[in-house]
């Protein structure tokens, strides 16, 4: 009987093992759910890895000098590692449920009319880092499922590819979702 109990424990011990210690589960599970109620959540996969922020970054949709400007900025910074993702529109009025293309960047297009996607990554700011920008070749899209200018809520989904401005490395952003309050 005692042996059986020993075997049982050994069996349980093996059952409890996961043969893949690196597998932290599905990264999609780490992203906030897709909502449209101003939950102040944002997240996406960067080359398959989850990236989120509290969503209280500097997000705005402003009417300036006769044109609309929109920005969604997400950030992580712990003093060493710094990550930023930016989706910025210039001179475009946003309509709900319309798809907008991210294909601009400041270095090639200057003060453009349109929209850009950008991701930056640095492990030590003083040593520089990587800046990935959308361009005519590596593009993406944003769909605003909600843009409520009374309640100041914008919600939607996004994805884009972007090219590192020096090395030419490509990064892929997928499964992006945001549900943010914004300033006007």
């Amino acid at each position: 009987m005692k042996n059986y109990i020993t075997y049982l424990f050994i069996a349980i011990a093996f059952l409890a093992c996961d043969n893949d210690d690196d597998n932290a589960g599905n990264p999609l599970d780490l992203l906030p759910p897709i909502t449209t109620t101003g939950e102040n959540t944002i997240g996406c996969l960067v080359n398959g890895e989850a990236f989120t922020d509290s969503g209280l970054m500097n997000n705005f949709y402003q009417f300036v000098d006769g044109n609309y400007f929109l920005a969604i900025n997400m950030n992580f910074n712990n003093g060493k590692l710094s990550k930023n993702l930016r989706i910025q529109f210039r001179r475009l009025e946003i309509d709900e449920n319309q798809t907008y293309t991210l294909d601009k960047n400041d270095l090639d297009d200057g003060d453009f009319t349109g929209a850009k996607g950008q991701y930056t990554y640095s492990e030590d700011f003083s040593q520089g880092g990587l800046q990935f920008d959308t361009n005519m070749e590596f593009i993406g899209q944003v769909i605003f499922t909600k843009l409520d200018t009374n309640a100041n809520i914008m919600s939607g989904t996004f994805e884009f590819q972007a090219k590192e401005i020096t090395s030419g490395e490509i990064i892929t952003i997928t499964n992006g979702r945001f549900d943010l309050t914004f300033t006007k």
Binding site: L56, A71, N73, N77, N78, R86, S122, K184
Partner: protein, 361 residues
Amino acid sequence: MKNYILLFFTLLRFIAKAQIFTEPITASKSFLGQFGTATLEIDDAGNDSFITKPLIVAEGFDSGLLSKENEFGENDITRFNTTVLNSNSFDLNSFLTGNTELIFGDQDYDIIYINWDNPRDFLQRNAFVLEQVITWVNQQKAIAGSTEQNVVLGQSMGGVLARYALANMEQDNDPTTNHDTKLYISHDAPHLGANIPIGIQFMARHLADQFVSTPLGDFSFEIADDSEASIKDINGIFNEPATQQLLGNYITPSFGLDNAVHNTWQTELQSKGYPTQTRNIALSNGNHCANPQDFSHSASLFQMNGKARSGLLTDMLGAFLGKTDDIAMAIAFNEPALLLGFLPGSSKFNLDFNAKALPPA
């Protein structure tokens, strides 16, 4: 022709991958017998080793609780660049970042970012540090043969320091301390004092009494991005000189309201006035559409009674403050966000907290 321009910019991107320079500064004037110090981070436009067109950025209050890994605390040239990029303004980025976050020297202005070595020190002591920074920058311009006047941007507490320093340099009748500044920008600066609701201050003091100075002891908690702080740390911030000088209503460790330090500072600042040889502009964060706060006078900022798990209070604070993050915490000196996450784990005990907004004056 367009191709040549494109090639030039591509080359520039490669060449311009330079670094941020640092420079230690010690004030030449002491306050109460001590000389303040700061460390400059410099993004050198054109990477030519010359300062020719300076933007001097005076950083704000730094609690010292966040980003402990970062030698320059919560605010530094990194976060400054990040927020400029966030603005979605091409012109501003051309001036200040060159539209690149991590490539240095490709912008229009030489950025001189001041990190106070003691960011919660007496305001006068750090203002004297700023005077020395301006003097040092002017010496560098002279070496470079530049006659361009400075732009001084003071953010939050830094706006008050810049006002004091620039005005003082005009009034001290010392020809060697000409500020040579054309524009002073006050960015969300507490010229009339800062506010942390006194109910929140009372709570901080009370928690310090309940835990730090009793057998229960101090405890640490995570505040953001792996940074930890303890009740003692937070209580300590309230005891520091700059906190007392800035807070319009200050609660002492013995639970008294004592505004003497603030009043003395405010009197001195007001008699100092504003710089008169600069163009002065001011920006104020917040809602510009005359919307009031979303709570009324005497409203409960939060309350919690009866038996609860401690995590619940943290949740409630979170709900009250909004889900805070590192940036929100870092710049929110005049917000109660410093107190978020006060209670650890999920231990069960009796609570009776109720912090209220002040009745109308």
